[in-house]
């Protein structure tokens, strides 16, 4: 068990319980929460945990801010989408598309990293922002290849669709559930790989660079090489998550995988969950998705209750939930930069 999580103990009873709860809930989601809507949410949580954790590898461990993470996510998704579209439905095409997307993401990340990190770490943030938005425009313009704004509906192998049914131990299992377990296991493996990565000597060097790049360089570590490697790895993992997302949704489109809103969500989750902890991605994503559902309801109720006052109902409008999350985000950067996980570990 300890080798599985690479010796990275939760270091807090509450955190351990929370992680176990999330793991069990996700592992048995199809049977605990029947209904396609909750399965949809569970799969989304799985994929976002990996996506956010891979961003944490960059931000929390490498100390690098990137705004192109959704671009890499999208590369994986579009890799699968285009391969299925061009090569026809099949497991081979799906795997090939995913690998091609991951390879492209890695290569692009490496080029951006070498171009900008060599000069100045903050260039990276600005350059990735510019490139990511250019790519988003490009994807919607190259409609022959990518389906443009409408995106593409994918035809995945029949075994993964709801139409496929079989019986196991008296339970009817549909292809949809098989698809969910593909997502769940894929995400679990990716997450454990990242956990292994950050607890390896490589991860320690990254932490050293984050704390003091100058000193790390003086000891003899090639700072640029390590940062470039972290960027590339994180891009490849994000692309893998994107490929799983495309297979799960059976659809790729600019708004589902490339939008700036998703990038903002990732940033909020990482910071609120806890930078540089990996487990922060799990706790943060779970809380974020729950907040998305319940905060809106709460705000709707409050807005109705204050309907007579000026301005207040507008501030509490359910569509403005991002406003309050933004405030929470700023406060958490100031007052608990290690996020929820850091808080829980500190209170041990």
């Amino acid at each position: 068990m300890l080798t599985l999580i690479s010796g990275d103990r939760p270091q807090s009873r509450i955190l351990g319980a929370l992680l176990l709860l999330v793991l069990l809930a996700l592992a048995f989601a199809p049977f605990l929460f029947p209904g396609s809507r909750s399965l949809e949410t569970a799969a989304r949580i799985c994929i976002f945990i990996v996506l956010v954790a891979s961003y944490d590898l960059l931000l929390g461990y490498g100390g690098i801010v990137s705004f192109a993470h959704t671009m890499f996510f999208g590369m994986g998704a579009y890799g699968v989408g285009i391969a299925l579209d061009r090569l026809g439905t099949g497991w081979g095409a799906m795997g090939l598309g995913a690998l091609a997307g991951m390879a492209l993401a890695g290569a692009v990340a490496l080029v951006i990293a070498l171009l900008s990190l060599r000069v100045r770490a903050i260039f990276f943030a600005m350059i990735t922002l510019a490139i990511a938005s250019a790519v988003a425009v490009l994807v919607s313009q190259l409609s022959g290849l990518t389906g443009g704004e409408d995106g593409m509906n994918l035809r995945i192998p029949r075994e993964l669709t709801p139409a496929f049914r079989f019986e196991v131990l008296g339970l009817t299992v549909t292809g949809k559930i098989l698809n969910y377990y593909l997502v769940f296991l894929g995400c679990l493996v990716l997450f454990l790989t990242m956990l292994r990565l950050v607890n390896s000597p490589f991860g320690r060097v990254l932490l050293a660079i984050r704390e003091n790049a100058f000193r790390a360089e003086a000891i003899g570590y090639r700072v640029v090489a390590y940062r470039a490697a972290a960027t590339t790895l994180s891009a490849v993992i994000a692309a893998a998550a994107g490929a799983l997302f495309a297979v799960w949704l059976r659809y790729v489109g600019p708004s589902t995988v490339l939008g700036m809103e998703i990038m903002m969500d990732i940033l909020l989750i990482v910071v609120i969950g806890g930078m540089g902890t990996m487990y922060g991605a799990v706790v943060g994503t779970a809380i974020f998705v729950l907040a998305q559902n319940y905060l809106k309801t709460l705000m709707g109720g409050l807005a109705e209750a204050t309907a007579g006052l000026p301005l207040v109902p507008d501030l509490l409008n359910p569509d403005r939930w991002l406003l309050w999350l933004g405030v929470l985000f700023i406060l958490s950067v100031y007052f608990f930069p290690t996020g929820i996980v850091g808080r829980l570990r500190g209170a041990r």
């Binding site: 250019a134 406003l323 405030v327 950067v333």
Partner: protein, 343 residues
């Protein structure tokens, strides 16, 4: 006792090519115009496109100049700058819509007065916003780029949401004032009047900013602060106060740019600030973070390249700027006019 080493200093000046090197970026804009002239078949459309490119470049410069100075002076990178653009545009548009009788009148005087009122209101609001932003958001995170990026991004989210709250988030259509509609014909080319005005305003901002930086004592302190803030502080000047002033001025300029952009596009959306910021980042990077002159050259280059490619190869317009940025970073990794820091 050994004899003193023979010492024969050479008093010859550097070769011409070496001396010209720092001035090369200045030649970039004319060279680009020449290339455009050769590539674009009709000279009248070249003239139209050049004016459009210059107008766009000037507006981007007005927005970007404040940001680059803020960075140069205090090493503060403000990702929330886009919020000031949007706020400026919304405030300015509201004023212009309220002064509908002035903008609708066929008198140049009244039209310009209405624009001036809109600009002043926008600059006042964004300047005040900048002060608040600096105090609340930026002040606690001096010295940490990572936190600055995160926190200013959070500030951007909150500011954008506030626009939704205050103005409702629909896109607003705003017509240009009566006398600034249409174009004048010069040498067979149609030159839009508003673009001429934008180029004029941009030039005035650039020249007066340069004059302040080069000719006044305040400018001297700012320039010295960019090079070595500790030393300026040690000499008894309160660099933080100067910085707050620059931050407010930069925010106000972003507001001015927002109004100009709103009248240029004739429609405003909440996300317009963010869309412009992409160009602003490219400009700030290729110009050299912290350099006003580099920012000016970079902005004009980006404006021209964008307009020429939009005419020659429409699909490549946005990608062309990325390619430009990559090319310039390979040529000069620190930007066209690198800022010398005494550190």
């Amino acid at each position: 006792m050994s004899t003193a080493p023979t010492h024969a200093p050479t008093m010859t000046s550097l070769p011409l090519a070496e001396r010209l090197k720092p001035w090369l970026p200045v030649a970039l804009v004319p060279v680009l115009m020449l290339l455009g002239f050769l590539a674009i078949p009709s000279s009248s459309s070249w003239l139209t496109l050049t004016l459009a490119g210059l107008a766009m470049g000037m507006m981007i410069f007005v927005i970007a100049s404040g940001m680059t100075l803020v960075f140069g002076l205090m090493d503060v990178i403000n990702f929330g700058h886009g919020a000031f653009i949007s706020f400026g545009a919304f405030v300015g548009t509201s004023v212009l819509l309220a002064l509908g009788s002035w903008t609708g009148a066929p008198s140049l005087m009244l039209n310009l007065l209405a624009i001036a009122a809109a600009v002043l209101a926008a600059m006042a609001v964004t300047g005040a916003l900048g002060l608040g932003f600096e105090r609340v958001i930026v002040r606690p995170v001096y010295g940490s780029h990572l936190k600055q990026i995160l926190v200013t991004m959070g500030g951007l989210i909150v500011a954008e949401q506030m626009i939704f709250v205050l103005w409702g988030g629909h896109e607003i259509v705003i017509a240009r004032p009566e006398t600034l509609k249409g174009a004048i014909t010069f040498a067979g080319a149609a030159l839009e009047k508003y673009r001429l005005l934008a180029v004029g305003v941009g030039l005035v901002v650039f020249l007066s900013m340069r004059a302040v930086l080069r000719r006044t004592k305040l400018g001297l302190i700012v320039r010295a602060g960019v090079e070595n803030p500790e030393m300026v502080q040690a000499l008894g000047y309160d660099i933080t106060r100067v910085f707050v002033g620059v931050f407010i001025a930069g925010s106000a300029l972003a507001g001015l740019g927002g109004v100009m952009w709103a009248l240029y596009q004739e429609v405003i959306t909440v996300h317009m600030g963010n869309e412009i910021m992409i160009l602003v980042f490219i400009v700030v990077i290729i110009g050299g973070l912290g350099s006003v002159e580099g920012c000016f050259i970079g902005a004009l280059t980006v404006g021209l390249v964008q307009n020429y490619t939009a005419f020659l190869e429409p699909k490549l317009a946005l990608v062309s700027n990325i390619a430009l940025m990559v090319a310039i970073l390979m040529w000069r990794p620190m930007g066209m006019v690198p800022v010398v820091k005494a550190k």
